[in-house]
Subunit: 217 residues, 2 copies
Amino acid sequence: MSLKLYGYWRSSASYRVRIALNLKNLAYEYMPVHLVKDGGQQHAEQYVSLNPSELVPTFVDEDEDIILNQSLSIIEYLDEKYPDVHPLLPPHKVEKARVRALAYDTACDIQPIANLRVLNYLSEHYNVDGEGKKAWCQTWITKGFRGIEKRLQNTAGDYCFGFNVTLADIALVPQVYNAERFGVDMSAFPLIRRINDNCNELDAFKSALPEAQIDAS
Amino acid sequence: MSLKLYGYWRSSASYRVRIALNLKNLAYEYMPVHLVKDGGQQHAEQYVSLNPSELVPTFVDEDEDIILNQSLSIIEYLDEKYPDVHPLLPPHKVEKARVRALAYDTACDIQPIANLRVLNYLSEHYNVDGEGKKAWCQTWITKGFRGIEKRLQNTAGDYCFGFNVTLADIALVPQVYNAERFGVDMSAFPLIRRINDNCNELDAFKSALPEAQIDAS
């Protein structure tokens, strides 16, 4: 198969790319990289030669001889390569900017802070325990969702931006999955919850779920 | 003036947008939002009505009646609105994806972790002192720069991607500024240093420098 995705079932950045590949109806080979086993397979020599940042996901498109990191860059690439199958950004520059900003609200300002490697640092250097890590994740997710919920009041239909699934939904749904995992009180976020439910009724989202992956444990 | 940028001199996300506005030769009104004074002016009611995430920057384009957050979304918007003045992304989808990934390497995986609000949390909850905060920032910047430096070996000319300034440089230079502030050992990153020096010779970068802003102190 010419498309390969190196990822981890629970990584929300990997999850985003799986959703996008599904929405684009693209078959791909899923290559699990276990972020915990063996001290983290993302640090193994062979993987580092593909992705020197030692993070997942990494996407390989053999037809174009391209190896790409960064989930949002991979998704924008897929959207440019396959513009006719389920466009992931609206056509007008203002709308596009709003959708991208919503996606970055998650991908820049929530996810990287509540990330495995950051949590590991907290326990190694400051002896932060399970409860402390949970509080940490809850803090950043709640702060971020507060802003997103308010913005959605101006943009949401069935999905984050009107009535088509966009990049913003692709970023949001894996973050909600994490929020539930870390026990975030979602009662203050009715729009986020509704949009998340709507997305999770779609096959593209269902088959991208962490527990549906071959490396889920 | 129809373009307004709400920002803070030391915020690297604000710094990015200033560089982009300068490269595009756009006049704009700079509206300082002091992130420390008054308990943080980004939390003041009037600002929150513009940006419910309570973060800088916020960009206002009165002609299009648009209020936008997220520096990278603002910059892509400017690039679409003014495509003929100094394009900030290369034309081909593969090159575009590489440039975006380099920008996200900083904007997602370094900057949000080594951010003022995160550092405040560390001191409030874990009593992390000045030296501990410095070590925290050094850790994430160094990890990120290691990946970027390796990628630049395949893409760099005078700038991150060949011989034109792109979104990747706009993301990198403010991060180098921060790295120097936090005493990161830059000796392992010769390409990053060279590109940073090349960018800082350009007027668009010089006049975007934190200390050149009216709110610098």
